[in-house]
């Protein structure tokens, strides 16, 4: 087992604890960069998807995992980001300013909605945000000059530093673009978490009453979290639009909101890693299920392909098992595995059992 020897306060302030930590993440990033040269083109598309869903997941994680406010309406903010980006680019904006503007526009939309929405908590907030998902479909049809109405909009070509980037023409370049945005957002997110702003989010999540007593303006903090969450999700929406090439009112249905929420829950609430792990599951699991189904079909007399909805059912089953047996998500599993190896052979079964939580003060408004 490794013991950390801390010799300065910076040890706890730095992004990485030590060189080993730095090297591990460096290797991970290098692998992500090298992937398109090694993997077949099909997987580059999958990796791009994972990057985009990770980004959207980070957006939702900030709100759900770190500030403790649930949202079933984040597809709406993906839609706002996507349509804003498309509309600006069609009006001649270059890609980068349009991408930043779409994040800002989504953030502002989030900030405007946050005040009334965040007066609600728990199940009421879930229902109110769910309504957003429903409304956005209609808005996407009505706001025809921006969204192209029923037929939607076709993504314009991205021009960046003289290169033309296109999901089909130059999949590797598009992958790097998504990866770059993802890394940048991840860095900023990590910065927030190690500074007073991030601590205020956690304070609001864990105990509003004591956050208030410590001088945290709870309403403002929630609004900030919602705004940033929406801005990140808007970015993901814009990139998603470029990947899908065509977006219309059907691109951002409630199912997307629910999938996003599942993603952060499966990945592990309250950890940035969770957003990434969840994205991997959400993108790859349907492929794995499809492959398994084909295997079953080929080698047994059962024709699973004849039963429509089996894929969804398997997906749902896996998620159910996950939520019941590992509420801390995949990141929780990873922590256990890592601890097992670090402490070998001293790991005890009850180490990650939830300790008892003592009685909380009656919630005061």
């Amino acid at each position: 087992m490794r013991v950390q020897f801390k010799s300065s306060y910076d040890h706890d302030i730095n992004l990485f604890q030590d060189n080993r930590h730095r090297i591990q993440y460096g290797i991970l990033i290098l692998l992500a960069i090298a992937a398109p040269f090694v993997l077949p083109e099909y997987f580059v598309g999958e990796l791009t998807q994972i990057a985009i869903w990770s980004l959207a997941g980070l957006g939702l994680m900030l709100l759900v995992g770190h500030t403790g406010q649930v949202s079933l309406g984040h597809a709406a903010f993906m839609a706002i980001g996507a349509f804003a980006n498309m509309a600006l680019m069609e009006r001649g904006w270059p890609f980068i300013p349009a991408l930043i503007a779409s994040a800002v526009i989504t953030g502002v939309a989030g900030a405007v909605l946050a005040r009334p929405l965040l007066r609600m908590t728990g199940i009421y907030l879930a229902i109110a945000t769910l309504a957003l998902s429903v409304i956005i479909e209609d808005i996407a049809i009505i706001a025809e000059p921006v969204t192209g109405g029923v037929s939607g909009v076709i993504a314009p070509m991205i021009e960046l530093f003289g290169y033309e980037i296109d999901r089909y023409g130059t999949p590797t370049a598009f992958y790097y673009l998504c990866l770059g945005v993802l890394l940048l957002v991840t860095l900023m997110y990590a910065n927030l978490l190690r500074s007073p702003s991030g601590r205020a989010f956690l304070a609001v999540r864990d105990s509003e009453v004591s956050a208030r007593a410590l001088g945290v303006n709870v309403a403002n903090t929630k609004t900030l979290a919602f705004t940033l969450s929406c801005a990140i999700t808007g970015l993901a929406g814009a990139l998603y639009a470029h990947m899908a090439q065509v977006v219309n009112y059907e691109s951002f249905l409630i199912l997307i909101s629910i999938t996003l929420l599942l993603q952060v829950v499966i990945g592990g609430l309250g950890s940035m890693h969770g957003a990434f792990l969840g994205a991997i599951v959400v993108v790859l699991l349907p492929q794995v299920i499809a492959t398994l189904r084909d295997l079953v079909n080929a080698h047994t007399p059962i024709a699973l392909g004849d039963y429509p909805g089996m894929d969804m059912a398997a997906f749902a089953l896996i998620i159910l098992v996950m939520v019941i047996y590992e509420p801390r998500g995949l990141y929780g599993v990873w922590l256990k595995v890592r601890t097992w190896f670090q402490l070998f052979p001293l790991y005890r079964k009850g180490m990650f059992r939830r300790s008892r939580t003592y009685l909380k003060t009656e919630r005061m408004r």
């Binding site: 302030i13 190690r194 601590r199 001088g215």
Partner: protein, 256 residues
């Protein structure tokens, strides 16, 4: 002038007058304790002072400033810190993170600076950490610094909550039943710490407590309340000897 002045404070929940015309003043540098039977309104007075409840009447003055109508989050920046009867720590964070959260009122950076982690954010973080380490030394929490709250014993959590209150650099500390649920030894430690807070840090302490051994050891003055009304004010011995206080705790002697 008194540091904290409570004048004729009242609040009613539905028809129940939980606090009914309570007045007292806490002088700078003293340990002032409120005692009373269950449901006397002691914690309610605390929640009124930290503005978690809206009083229906009366005034609260801190250092001459009327804080009766301030929003709750504006109380801590004035220099009033508090603990909770049932412990309200951030369970999923470490002790260190909890104490850093206590530094919130001293924060100097905007979220956008935090997001970019500008050099001044780092400088501010070091500064926060230095203050927090002083508190950790003071309350002897070094062994628990990087432990998650969720894994700590109850007694340690009580101390961590006080440490979090001290991290904000307050002038007045409100302790809501600091000894409740503690063992005899832990209660003795608590008495030491309260005395140290008063004598070494020069803090003013307003406390609600049931444990009379702790109360009489650390309190300069004691206010007894029952059914939301003040009964008696004086030293611990005076209040304990007051017939009205005895009656409130034990009931009146039957008059045959």
């Amino acid at each position: 002038m008194s540091l904290l002045q409570v004048e004729n404070l009242s609040i009613a929940f539905g028809g129940v007058k939980a606090v009914d015309g309570v007045s007292f003043s806490v002088e700078a540098g003293e340990v002032f304790t409120i005692v009373g039977p269950n449901g006397a309104g002691k914690s309610t007075i605390f929640n009124l002072i930290s503005r978690l409840y809206e009083p229906s009447g009366g005034r609260i003055l801190f250092d001459g400033q009327d804080i009766t109508r301030l929003p709750a989050h504006k109380i801590a920046p004035l220099g009033i810190a508090r603990t909770f009867q049932n412990i309200e720590l951030f369970d999923h964070s470490t002790v260190l993170q909890n104490l850093l959260m206590g530094r919130h009122v001293r924060r100097k950076t905007l979220w956008i600076e935090d997001m970019l982690f500008l050099p001044r954010v780092r400088r501010a973080e070091r500064e926060h950490r230095r203050h927090v380490e002083e508190v950790i030394d003071f309350l002897d929490l070094a062994a628990y610094r990087d432990k998650l709250i969720a894994g700590l014993p109850y007694g340690v959590r009580k101390v961590v909550e006080i440490a979090r209150a001290l991290s904000s650099g307050p002038r007045l500390v409100l302790l809501d039943e600091p000894a409740s649920g503690l063992s005899v030894e832990e209660t003795k430690d608590m008495a030491w710490w309260i005395e140290d807070m008063q004598k070494d840090l020069g803090l003013t302490i307003l406390m609600v407590e049931h444990d009379m051994s702790l109360v009489s050891r650390v309190s300069d003055r004691v206010l007894a309340v029952a059914e939301g009304k003040p009964l008696a004010l004086g030293t611990s011995a005076e209040v304990q000897a007051d017939p009205r206080v005895i009656e409130a705790y034990l009931g009146a002697e039957e008059t045959a």
